[in-house]
């Protein structure tokens, strides 16, 4: 898993973008392939399991990043 660190001043949406494309690229790809396989007949939650893993990965990445001590310190410096 490639972890990307985001400067703490960056907006939450940007954070989501980085994790959705870089940190969780693998899970994103699995989810995307699942939709691709069924895209002529998509229904709600058709790739629910794949998305859960993808979403879990994003949440984990955001959580880890906020807890990271270096980033906590940089918050202090920025104040």
């Amino acid at each position: 898993m490639r972890t990307a660190t985001v400067p703490p001043t960056i907006k939450p949406l940007k954070r989501l973008a980085v994790h959705a494309t870089t940190t969780c690229a693998e899970q994103a790809s699995i989810y995307g392939k699942c939709i691709l396989a069924t895209y002529t007949d998509v229904r709600q939650d058709i790739c629910k399991a794949e998305f859960q893993k993808f979403g879990q990965c994003i949440r984990e990445a955001v959580r880890l990043e906020i807890r990271h001590p270096l980033i906590q310190y940089s918050f202090i410096f920025l104040r």
Binding site: L13, K14, L16, A17, A20, T21, A28, S29, Y31, G32, K33, I35, L36, Y39, V42, R43, Q44, D45, I46, C47, F51, F54, G55, I58
Partner: protein
Amino acid sequence: MNVARSLARARILRVQTRNYAAISSSSPSPSLTAHTLGPFQVFDRETKRIQRDKAASKHGGESSRTVDYVRDEIADRMMERLEDIKRRFSTVVDLGSGSGHFAKLLDPEKTKKCIMIDSSREALHRDPDSEFEGQNCILLSCTRVNRYPVEVERIHADEENLLQIMNPNSQEAIVSCLSLHWVNDLPGVLIQIKEALQPDGLFLGAMLGGETLFELRTALQLAQVDREGGISPHISPMTDTRDVSNLLGRAGFTLLTVDIDEVKVTYPSMWELMDDLRDMGESNAVIGRRHIIHRDTLAAASAIYKELHGNEDGTVPATFQVIFMIGWKPAPTQPKPLERGSGKTNLKDVL
């Protein structure tokens, strides 16, 4: 019984068609405020104006200048078409000029003056007429250079009400580069353009066509269906290419030329595309749009975009389909096709 029913149906149908025609053929569209919804209001013009003002003034216009690439490219391609027309103009009106992407390319040998009209004041005044050359320019040691090769005049006005600022039969040429896709009453605006032109006046336009951003449209739709179980519009409905020549003909233009072109841009991911669209002032302004997209849906859409449309090197493409149109206001001096059946030579003899 059957006859009576079909008669009744026919009457209903007729009433409906008359309604349609009455609405769309009204030449100057009634000026509607942001909160009155006429039957053909697709876009929220007031929101669009605010979005474009914000985009053009963000970071002193810098963010807006970095995303000029689409407009500059299309203005350049439109200029090629103007160059093909062997005629000099004393004034060219640029309807929906934005920050003068087209005006900057005008040839001073062929055109004397450009009147820029836009509903966004910030976009209109983003690039002043002249700038100081060089970055480290100290007082008096630098020269002012003109940004625009020709004289420009700026008019801050609504593109939908052209005839309020222009007299009928007053203009030699009207151009429009990428603004007509936010117009609600397209037939009405085209009729106003024709009215404002002198006989034998030129209309040259470029507008985004229906294939524009189809990658983003499909990715968002698939993500919404899977995550939320339904769809709502995030990308505007856009004019189909086939309709444009009909619309031009209906507005009364002659000698029509319509052609399609594509600009493909590559982005690292869907997120950069969305950032750039916002900085271009091209965010969603469809009436009745949803104001938020759920984070899950966005993340899902970015994954789908990449898998469904992505390039091999991991980047994603975005397509901008452009419809170029040329039309002339009718004049007795123009060449006309001969009367049908008036040919004297048999084609068989020639071939």
